[in-house]
Symmetry: C2
Amino acid sequence: MKTMPAQAIQETHAFADEARDAVYRAIFSRRDVRGQFLPTPVPDEVLSRVLTAAHYAPSVGFMQPWNFLVVQSDQVKRRVHDAFAVAHAEAGDMFEGDKRAVYRTLKLEGILESPLGICITCDRERSGPVVVGRTHMKTMDLYSSVCAVQNLWLAARAEGLGVGWVSIFNQAELQEALGIPKRITPIAYLCVGYVSHFHAKPELESAGWLPRLPMEDLVYFNQWGHRDDQQSLIGHLRRDQAAAQEAGTANLSAAAK
Amino acid sequence: MKTMPAQAIQETHAFADEARDAVYRAIFSRRDVRGQFLPTPVPDEVLSRVLTAAHYAPSVGFMQPWNFLVVQSDQVKRRVHDAFAVAHAEAGDMFEGDKRAVYRTLKLEGILESPLGICITCDRERSGPVVVGRTHMKTMDLYSSVCAVQNLWLAARAEGLGVGWVSIFNQAELQEALGIPKRITPIAYLCVGYVSHFHAKPELESAGWLPRLPMEDLVYFNQWGHRDDQQSLIGHLRRDQAAAQEAGTANLSAAAK
């Protein structure tokens, strides 16, 4: 049997360098946007593309458990914002000491300013009680809808759209604001729109809330906690993380041009 | 105040067409790979890039709850496969009638054939008991680790690497096979490696298990179940879904060249 050399295999299915770099650029320059939304309308053709990207996420047993509830009405956005405000006030009280004061200064959503809200949901009963791949991990359908969120987020970045995931809601109140039945699980309420700028770093990193963890501390080999003598990989991880941090900054510089 | 026209805003932050198309190509040609793995080793520099892509996923409160357990040992892969085999036999019994027979013919994993396994986990206590954005939706940390899975998956596609998510495990058995402590939640066991080919469509779609749902049936406006007269958007959704289906086929043709 003829076998292909490694290099040839890679070249058969790998993207060309420029295309591959575009995928990484979307990944490294994606941000959770809260405060930079512009009122500029999002054209239907752009909205359609990012929704289609979400629909082509992986799903357990191909159940495609998601719906996409697009919010354009100011009145509905106001109801969603009211639900956020209640939960946000409750959340502030949960932090202790300095963190409580800092928490209250954080801008955590752009519900009213963003031209679009998109609620991505999970219908856990979509394809019957027994689902291929969900027989043991019952949360796999929820995870499928999360993959749809991430697809939409990366497609949006490539389109120049900012996305912010708002998760500070009492679930029943968000459902009520959007008329979502109890049997449907809301996964993400996303604020979507064009932005004045993308931040170079996640805002919680810039604010000193938490640092970006070093990649090399997060990787184990073969067993939990084991760190083999993998100096080549560790070296690459250090360089790639430095490059990923710079990619955010480069993105900001490009935007400022 | 001077405002920028919509077109200019878009052009400021949107990727150039070729780069944007590369992101969509990754999204539409990504597959859950089970049966096409090649033994070709994955270079450290490629592994490092896809892990770094995972680490730059969004995370609630910037908690970065993930670890990446890289499995290269045949002995450990065998233990993981043993755990799969137990759960897979249990799963078969859960389906009724024809579905049971079909289920048993499905190839659902490439644990032993793929050169790498990568288990992505979630440490729910990583940044203390109170996390920004997880005060109300307690599953947000799990969802962050899922976003890391999807980032890795798309980066892998751009690198020409196949990824298959295996979820048919009793969680405790997977943890035992990999030495993962009880307090850590395994999110995904991924089989990773170069592939002979990517399928044009998801295998469960080709097998007639379930059809791809029409996008237009999944989108609501402002309230659950509401379908406004949004003919422009619906037209775009139909065209984009047709194009996304073709993108998979185009990908196959390119591979066959």
